[in-house]
């Protein structure tokens, strides 16, 4: 057996709401190797954030509940780990960056204080050591005049700078895994490109593994080694990044890639569009979750939900139909 840095097995998470139980994550399994960047893509509500938050036991409970699964980090199950130990893992070994930096930064605390606190707590640094390291970190993420700017409050930074601060914070303790949940979605393309390049550079320098959540198929192509596509609380396709874009196989992945305008479009072609809406998650489907919108749908798809199976080396797909040939699997 290969030693994965992180190995998630059969994760299931639900939310109890007044309207019923939301089946947010329905049996998700994936692995992450050292130094690897895994991209996780899919539409709003498909379970990307809940999957990662569940691994770190950060979902609000109630209403959320992890009903099944395992998440091994260095062979230890994070889902069963003692809370004190887990807090240490979250502080020092696995860190997370969220979509909106304003909600994760404390508006009434200076940037410097927010950067120094975890350094003192997890790495037992002195005030002076922490301040030096904070200046170094801000420099690393490209904040000019870092020494002076430690005294600023979050609102004195631009959106792009705040996101860079978040990244600086998440790197403060040299984590082994960085989980970035849509860290660039709210930013302009030029700033997004800055952040992506920054993270790639830091990854190469520090050798950390990354899970990068996004709905932007372009951003994923620019940063990931491997990609998992999610739909309705399932991973429905997973593959090496180049193979995914060269040989997209699941009908949903095909649809997603087809609905993007091609940047080198010479003649105007109509966009492919996936008809219908994303699923409502109040029931765990017995059928394939994509069946109501799928153009390849067969009788069997309504009766049984396909499992993620290997279709070629390193490429897994959950679908009853071989979309290349049109024949059944």
């Amino acid at each position: 057996m290969i030693d994965h840095l992180l190995q998630v097995e059969n994760l299931e998470t639900q939310f109890k709401t007044p309207d019923g139980i939301v089946h947010a994550v329905n049996g998700v399994s994936f692995t992450l190797n050292e130094g690897e960047t895994l991209g996780v893509v899919g539409e709003s509500g498909c379970g990307k954030s809940v999957t990662m938050l569940s691994c770190l036991r950060l979902i609000p409970s109630p209403p959320g509940k992890i009903v099944a699964g395992e998440a091994f980090f260095h062979g230890q199950d994070l889902l069963k780990m003692d809370p004190e130990e887990l807090r240490h893992v979250r502080g020092a070994q696995i860190s997370m960056v969220f979509q909106d930096p304003m909600t994760s930064l404390n508006p009434v605390m200076t940037i410097g204080k927010q950067l120094c606190e975890p350094l003192k707590l997890h790495l037992n640094m002195t005030d002076q050591q922490a301040t030096n390291r904070a200046i170094e970190l801000l420099g690393l993420v490209g904040i000019p005049r870092a020494g002076e700017r430690l005294k600023d409050y979050p609102h004195q930074y631009s959106g792009g700078m705040r996101q860079r601060v978040m990244i600086a914070m998440s790197l403060a303790c040299n984590p082994q895994i960085l989980i970035a949940d849509e860290p660039t979605t709210a930013l302009d393309v030029t700033i997004q490109a800055q952040i992506v390049d920054l993270v790639k550079r830091l990854r190469d320098e520090m050798g950390m593994a990354i899970i990068w959540i996004t709905h932007d198929l372009g951003v994923v192509a620019s940063i990931a080694h491997r990609v998992a596509v999610m739909y309705g609380g399932y991973i429905i396709e997973e593959s090496d990044v180049k193979d995914l874009y060269a040989n997209p196989t699941h009908p949903y992945t095909l649809g997603l890639l087809g609905s993007l305008p091609h940047i080198e479009e010479k003649v105007h072609t109509r966009l492919f569009s996936i008809e219908g809406m994303p699923p409502v998650l109040y029931k765990k489907p017995v059928s394939c979750p994509f069946a109501p919108r799928c153009t390849f749908v067969t009788e069997k798809c309504w009766q049984e939900n396909p499992k993620l199976e290997t279709v070629s080396p390193g490429h897994r797909v959950a679908c009853w139909v071989d979309t290349k040939s049109g024949s059944k699997r």
Partner: protein, 326 residues
């Protein structure tokens, strides 16, 4: 000018400043230079794409054109009439022909109104129809945007984002407008739903010969939908050209940087290309830089750029750029 005939909209040196007040006696201490002297025109039946980073003045441009803001200075000619000089009643009548679709399909619809009332409201406001006529017209409009007419009695929260955006489109179409400002109509939508709405907008444009000002920050979608594209930076237009010309042969350093930052859905592209990443942030529109506004981030700026503000100059037929080095 021979093209003058089919020019639907002409924007001439439009300026929109928002004053900033401070202190007990509310003294004006400055102004946000949201739009700072822009000129362009839009031809009948075409789509002009308007792109640029957050805060560069795209929405303000759209709103000032529709006279939702009173411009600080400059002229806006629609069908030859100067809207800025129009009195309120003729402007009200003119407004029927000019509509807007908003970015946020969640916030832009009144949650306490049914779909019938939302879509039918403009018809009532202009006394275009009453009672049963409105119900029929609303049903037609919903069919037009591919929504089930039986949904007319429902409320916005019962719809998905893409469906809500369709409701907004139906409302905008109620008075048979000729010109629609689409302000980031797909930004809040999922990828698979974006294509649905873009296809719908294109179909409607063909059917009704609509003219669009399409505001967006997704440059690949703008390329897909536009005939011409204007690039804004900090309140001014940096470059404007036919879409293929702009994307294949960008002249302004800002356009070049913007295009090179577009995420491309192709991992092989990233192995072959090193992209030029623009450094720094957009400066404050309260004190825009002297000379060329882009000079604080421009990779080829020199001392001259701090002194002279470049004019938007026609470099080749139909291709305008505002850079001293082009």
């Amino acid at each position: 000018m021979e093209n003058e005939k089919n020019t639907l909209l002409k924007v001439d040196n439009l300026v929109m400043h928002f004053p900033i007040y401070r202190g007990v006696i509310s003294r004006q201490v400055g102004a946000v230079h949201a739009v700072d002297g822009i000129s362009f025109d839009v031809k009948e039946g075409e789509t002009l794409g308007l792109v640029g980073e957050s805060g560069c003045g795209k929405s303000t441009t759209g709103r000032a054109i529709l006279q939702l803001y009173k411009p600080t200075s400059g002229e806006v000619y629609f069908k030859g009439k100067n809207l800025v000089k129009l009195k309120s009643e003729p402007m009200r009548m003119m407004r029927r022909e000019m509509q807007m679709i908003f970015q946020d399909p969640y916030a832009s619809l009144n949650p306490r109104m049914t779909v019938r009332d939302i879509v039918g409201e403009p018809l009532m406001a202009f006394g275009q129809a009453s009672g049963k006529e409105i119900t029929e017209r609303v049903a037609d409009l919903l069919k037009l945007v591919k929504l089930n007419p039986d949904f007319a009695s429902r409320y916005p929260h019962e719809f998905s984002g893409g469906q809500r955006q369709r409701i907004g489109v139906a409302r905008a179409l109620a008075l048979n407008p000729s010109f629609i400002v689409c302000d980031e109509p797909i930004s809040a939508l999922d990828v698979s739903i974006q294509a649905q709405v873009v296809n719908l907008l294109e179909d409607l444009q063909k059917e009704f010969n609509l003219t669009y000002l399409f505001i967006a920050h997704d440059l690949s979608m703008v390329r897909h939908i536009s005939n011409r594209v204007a690039v804004m930076y900090l309140g001014i237009i940096a470059e404007i050209a036919d879409r293929d010309e702009l994307y294949v042969n960008p002249l302004h350093p800002y356009t070049q940087a913007l295009l090179s930052a577009i995420p491309v859905a192709d991992p092989v592209y990233y192995e072959k290309n090193r992209r030029k990443v623009l450094e720094g942030d957009v400066p404050s529109p309260v004190n825009p830089p002297s000379g060329c506004r882009f000079r604080t981030r421009c990779p080829i700026a020199d001392a001259h750029c701090a002194e002279v503000q470049p004019e938007l100059r026609e470099v080749s037929p139909g291709h305008f750029a505002a850079c001293l080095k082009v």
